[in-house]
């Protein structure tokens, strides 16, 4: 087990594509680090550079104290779980798990002991004699995990290991992998494009975009204090609502103007976002998490600012209700918004954006399950103003 570090590590392909730009990232000994980002953000490239499957164009990659830039994969003492599992189809589950140990010429008894131990942890004991093609997706995934575990390596590298499983199995394996990692205490770098996996599994999460590291933080910090619009929009599901807004001063207090609505900013909010007054009479991007919105009919008193809109769609999740509604305000249209829409394959939003900035913004609110809102209703929505996010329009940085 070891600390793993990227120091200004870059990857430039032959055609000039810069897949990874000066990545500085240290994964502490025993830490579970998740690399997350949309496809093409360089996360898999970083992982493969650490594995030795991709050359390092510039910078340094360390495993422990060793600089591994020039080392072949076999000399790096790391184990990897692939997205496709990459099980050897001509070998049984047992032989798949034992493969690396045999290559290392570990004594037979020792191999048997370690394979059986791994099989016990992963619930594979009854399946050891089967070949991969006789196994289900989840079983294959566990064999791939077993292959990594028996190595007792310096680090685990996992490249979207759950993306080929169905939703239920994914939730179970998510917990299993987390448990195994905690018990073994092996330094782990886990790549995923699924922000739910990132949030639930990682001690820390590194968000990447276009080859550049955006933010490294604990899941809570990432969620509540995103450093920029991209992180804010990427982390969280449903995604943060992004609106064009303006900062104005009236009667001595600062107000946020969104379409027809105006919110007075509380002192606490101003204290938490000290840069806001400097944006007086300028437009900014306002970020509202879905759970910061609630059906006003269910909120006591009127000390929360309100938005007026029309309900378009309800999605009942049982414990809560997701309500899509439109308000007379302009959605924020920036590169980040386009990129995030592209990443989730949201063609409708992309089409809208191509036609210029629409006059109406569609928001998603996470309402209490008691809400009586129906499609087509005119609704009032309360905004929990303390949980708002503010971003600079040009730089995308949080204010």
């Amino acid at each position: 087990m070891a600390r793993v570090a990227f120091e200004a590590a870059s990857k430039v392909y032959g055609d000039g594509t810069r897949a990874l730009d000066k990545l500085d990232l240290a994964i502490e000994d025993g830490e579970f680090m998740v690399l997350v980002g949309p496809s093409g953000c360089g996360k898999t490239t970083a992982l493969r550079m650490l594995a030795g499957l991709e050359d390092i164009t510039d910078g340094v990659v360390r495993i422990g104290e060793r600089v591994v830039n020039g080392l072949s994969p076999k000399s790096r003492d790391i184990a990897m779980v692939f997205q496709s599992y990459a099980l050897y189809p001509h070998l049984t589950a047992y032989d798949n798990i034992a493969f690396a140990l045999r290559i290392k010429k570990v004594p037979k008894d020792e191999i048997r002991r370690r394979v059986e131990e791994a099989a016990r942890i992963l619930g594979l004991v009854a399946l050891l004699k089967k070949k991969p093609r006789a196994l289900s997706g989840g079983q294959r995934q566990r064999v791939a995990m077993g292959r990594a575990i028996v190595r007792e390596p310096q680090a685990f590298l996992m490249d979207e290991p759950l993306s080929n499983l169905d939703a239920k199995l994914r939730v179970k394996m998510r917990a299993d992998i987390k448990k195994i990692q905690t018990n073994l205490g092996v330094t782990t770098l886990y790549v995923t494009h699924d922000q739910v996996e990132a949030m639930t599994m990682g001690h820390r999460v590194a968000v990447m975009r276009k080859g550049e590291l955006q933010q490294v933080a604990s899941p809570e910090d990432l969620y509540h204090r995103p450093l920029n619009m991209f992180v804010g929009g990427f982390i969280g599901s449903p995604a943060m609502n992004m609106l064009e807004a303006a900062v104005e001063r009236r009667n001595g207090s600062f107000e946020i103007v969104v379409g027809e609505a105006r919110f007075v900013l509380a002192q606490e909010t101003l204290a938490a976002h000290p840069q806001l007054p400097a944006y007086e009479n300028r437009s900014i991007v306002l970020g509202i998490r879905p759970e910061s919105l609630e059906d006003a009919a269910l909120v006591d008193g009127d000390h929360h600012p309100r938005l007026r809109g029309d309900a378009e769609l309800r999605e009942a999740l049982g414990s809560e209700m997701l309500v899509h509604f439109s308000i007379a305000a302009r959605p924020a249209v920036t590169d980040e918004v386009r990129e995030l829409a592209e990443d989730v394959g949201d063609d409708r939003t992309l089409e809208h954006l191509a036609e210029g900035v629409p006059a109406h913004a569609t928001l998603v609110g996470r309402f209490s399950a008691d809400t009586r809102v129906r499609e087509g209703d005119s609704i009032e929505v309360a905004v929990y103003e303390r949980a708002l996010h503010f971003f600079d329009r040009e730089s995308g940085l949080a204010l």
Binding site: P73, M80, A86, N164
Partner: protein, 292 residues
Amino acid sequence: MGIRLLGLGARMAILLVFAIFFIAPVLWLILAPTKSDNALVTSSPFSFGSFHNVAQAWNHLDAYSDHLYRRWIANTLIYSLSATAITLAISIPAGYGLALGKFWGRKLILTLTLVVMIMPAASLVLPIFLELNALHLIGSVFSVILPFSFFPFGIYLAYIYYATSIPSELLDAARVDGCGEWLTFRRVALPLAKPVVALVFFFSFVANWNNFFLPYVVLADSNQYPITVGLSNLLASTPSFNPAVGGGGQSVNIFKPELALATLLAVIPVAIVFLLSQRALVRGTLGGAVKQ
């Protein structure tokens, strides 16, 4: 309804005509050794003679030049199996390297392989002859085995197989699991190549078995002939095909039934190899390697 039946009937009739057209010569050849030379011309083309005639034809054929026919079959087996063994040892790693390796000149080598593959073998006979002559190999078994050990089509088959059927993640997994390049090939890529090994084995063996022109040019001693050259030699010494020989065929006791038998027997090893390699060409060897 009537029209549909008519259409079906027409289709069946066309298929039947073609089937008969192609099967008739084969049937004639199979029946030929059962008849005497005379009956072959006089009796109905598809009549059966007797097994006695087959035995007699074999005795004549086997007696020809002191078991020379057996010698030719043995020679051909040695030539074909040796050249095929070398071909396999070269093509599989070469195709693997061309498909999955990253090295300078890869495209050039691949293009050259394809160009040589589409060149007719006969066009190279003269330069190969000159080369073998310069190396003093003319008349030795190597002059037949070595030129045919280079089998570009085999390399191409292996290349196609590795380029399309082996996911690169599988090789990456082996590398991370501690294999160097040799072990990655030996422990993962090679065991997965069974279908293409069978395919290359079959095509190479057949190409070698049927190889005629080169051995015809480089071998002088009839004891060294492969079966192809031997058969043509046999044909040339049969009066019914080559009246210039004279003697009415009695001198060698080789007539049309003997020739038919010689031809039929020469096909058997190829048929066996086909059956064996076909069994190994199992689909789905890669099932379960990666999620599709």
